[in-house]
């Protein structure tokens, strides 16, 4: 089953062409990896997909619906969640509150419900807290639930961002370099989590520079260079693709 189809996505920033006619198809239940040297357009691809930028050209179809140019909150409500390359937690909120904000789209409570503090609203809030604690336990941060996100260690912040993204019960999860800056042990922990997340029926798209991690995790890899898709295939195919090797290591000679 096809979950997401990107057709001819282009994005120009003034004269800079960040993405040029990129086609990507994501199958349901897949872990799709997106690689490319820094500046090759991977993060821009996430940003145009989640509505932070509008693509210059091209279309996104999510579960058959055209979501091109939707504002970020609509894309999120449709079931797409993401993390950021440079962690963007709500620093002055507790870990628990961060995950509660992540559940925003799932809450049934209304403005009136909040003001009247109806039974339904309190029930909703209680369930949200339970679920937030479950998610914190899932990423191993339950004992830190009352700490300000800004005070958590780097690796913990990365895991909290994962929990916050999962809180929306997404269909598609976009992870932007989830293991960046981690040592091999921490990275392995995160990859373990990603497997578990896929086990929950969530489709994952992953940007990652650590090829070793990528080879062991992704089922399908798309390689970008300077905004253009240069190759796609299984990890094995990508590993020996001369264009990919050239993009990463430069011309042989």
């Amino acid at each position: 089953m096809e979950l997401l189809r990107a057709e001819g996505i282009s994005k120009d920033f003034g004269g800079v062409r960040a993405l040029h006619r990129v086609d990507v198809t994501v199958q349901e239940g897949q872990i799709l990896g997106s690689i490319g040297p820094n500046g090759s357009g991977n993060t821009t691809f996430f940003n145009v997909l989640t509505g932070i930028y509008r693509p210059t050209a091209g279309k996104f179809y999510f579960r058959g619906t055209d979501i091109t140019g939707w504002p970020p909150h609509k894309v999120a409500q449709a079931g797409v969640a993401r993390t950021f390359q440079n962690i963007r937690l709500f620093g002055n909120m507790s870990a628990l509150e961060n995950v509660l904000v992540g559940q925003h789209t799932k809450l049934k409570a209304t403005l009136v419900g909040a003001l009247a503090r109806t039974r339904g609203q309190r029930e909703d809030e209680r369930r949200a807290r339970e679920r937030a604690e479950e998610l914190l336990a899932f990423v191993g941060l339950l004992d830190k639930k009352d700490e300000f996100a800004a005070n958590l260690a780097y690796g913990e912040q990365r895991r909290l961002e994962l929990a916050r993204a999962l809180a929306a019960s997404p269909v598609l999860l976009l992870l932007d370099e989830p293991t960046a800056g981690m040592n091999p042990g921490e990275a392995a922990q995160v990859m373990d989590l990603i497997y578990k997340i896929r086990g929950l029926g969530v489709t994952v798209v992953l940007i990652e520079h650590n090829m070793q991690v990528m080879m062991g995790t992704a089922e399908w890899i798309v390689a970008l260079d300077a905004g253009t898709k240069i190759a796609e295939g299984t990890p094995k195919e990508i590993q020996y693709n001369p264009k990919v090797i050239q993009a990463y290591l430069g011309e042989e000679g």
């Binding site: 909150h73 409500q77 963007r88």
Partner: protein
């Protein structure tokens, strides 16, 4: 924390409520004279203003300086509806809030399109426009002469024409304000507002409709400024344009900052201190602004986050003026000591928490 509370916690909290309620109910009996009583009522009128500013600036992170306009819109609406249209007070009161709220929403939309500094300028601009309109629209507002003879609030046969009666009416209104602000900020709505303050882009990708919640904060804040305006008009029995200037907007901000951005009890305290202090120091009236300035500098020096606030809200709204503290204490600003590249202090062990 939600969930189960122990009997002790419950009884302590319940006891505090009872004590607070008894104090508020008995307060009129403790008044030494009418003058002090009027000051207390002025505090009650200003509390919603401080809370409204706090909601918009402290929680949502929008630095607006135009609240005086909405305060004024409420005051004029209420006075004119009672005097010219002959409507009963409850209708005029509700209309005051709703009209201010309507203008708030109308101003909120263009404000969404601009960055934070421009938002501040736009709201100052709106405040000035309101002031000039109030000053010059002779047919409606009687310009600088203002509107005298605004009658006291009246519900059916009950006329709230004494301080004693007005106190209970306004207290009830302000309590509703506090309760609604409390519930709003403690709900998913409040979380969304704080998330927007912390990181707008991240909030949007969590499915939060940033525009909606910003306008909501605006609407709620201006609604209560309007209600406050109505309370003021019927309290002073007069509405004039000179009350609603940029100075008044700055005063709202000052109340919110002094009490502490992001703290509702702080706003109550901020209003109480800043409204009553000039009355206490009446003999020093000429030096009022000087003392006010000194008070704010002292605050920034010792408690930049306000009396009850969290530094988080101050930081996030870029109202963190810790540099003033450093200036007062004679410290150099951060980054001034260029030659020093690395500093390590107390490395072994972590600070206990």
């Amino acid at each position: 924390m939600m969930g189960r509370t122990t009997l002790w916690q419950f009884s302590r909290r319940f006891g505090l409520y009872v004590l607070g309620a008894a104090l508020l109910l008995a307060l009129p009996k403790m008044m030494p004279n009418e003058y002090v009583f009027r000051v207390v009522i002025a505090v009650i009128i200003d509390i919603p203003l401080a809370l409204a500013q706090n909601l918009i600036t402290g929680f949502t992170g929008m630095l607006t300086l135009g609240q005086a306009a909405f305060y004024g819109i409420g005051a004029y609406t209420s006075a004119l509806l009672v005097l010219r249209a002959g409507l009963p007070w409850p209708v005029a009161f509700l209309a005051a809030g709703l009209v201010a709220c309507l203008f708030g929403i109308l101003l909120g939309f263009p404000c969404l399109r601009v960055g934070s500094d421009y938002l501040t300028l736009m709201t100052i601009g709106f405040g000035e426009i309101f002031h000039i309109v109030a000053l010059n629209w002779m047919d409606l507002t009687r310009g600088p002469m203002g509107i005298p003879g605004v009658p006291p609030p009246q519900i059916g046969p009950i006329v709230f024409d004494t301080s004693f009666r007005m106190y209970y009416l306004y207290l009830a209104i302000t309590l509703v304000c506090y309760l609604s602000m409390h519930r709003l900020t403690k709900s998913h709505v409040g979380r969304a507002l704080i998330a927007i303050r912390e990181d707008e882009t991240a909030a949007a990708t969590m499915g939060i409709n940033v525009a909606y919640y910003k306008v909501l904060a605006f609407a709620f804040g201006t609604l209560w400024a309007g209600f406050s305006g109505s309370m003021l008009a019927h309290f002073l029995a007069f509405v004039g344009p000179m009350t609603f200037t940029l100075n008044e907007s700055l005063f709202h901000m000052q109340m919110a900052i002094l009490g502490g951005l992001g703290s509702l009890p702080g706003s109550v305290l901020g209003a109480a201190i800043l409204v009553s202090l000039p009355q206490v120091f009446q003999p020093l009236y000429r030096y009022r602004m000087l003392l006010n300035g000194a008070l704010m500098v002292m605050l920034m020096a010792w408690r930049p986050q306000g009396i009850m606030g969290t530094s988080a809200a101050a930081r996030a709204t870029r109202l963190d003026l810790r540099w003033v503290r450093d200036l007062v204490r004679g410290k150099k600003a951060k980054g001034a000591e260029a030659p020093q590249c690395l500093e390590a202090e107390g490395l072994p062990g972590r600070e206990s928490e």
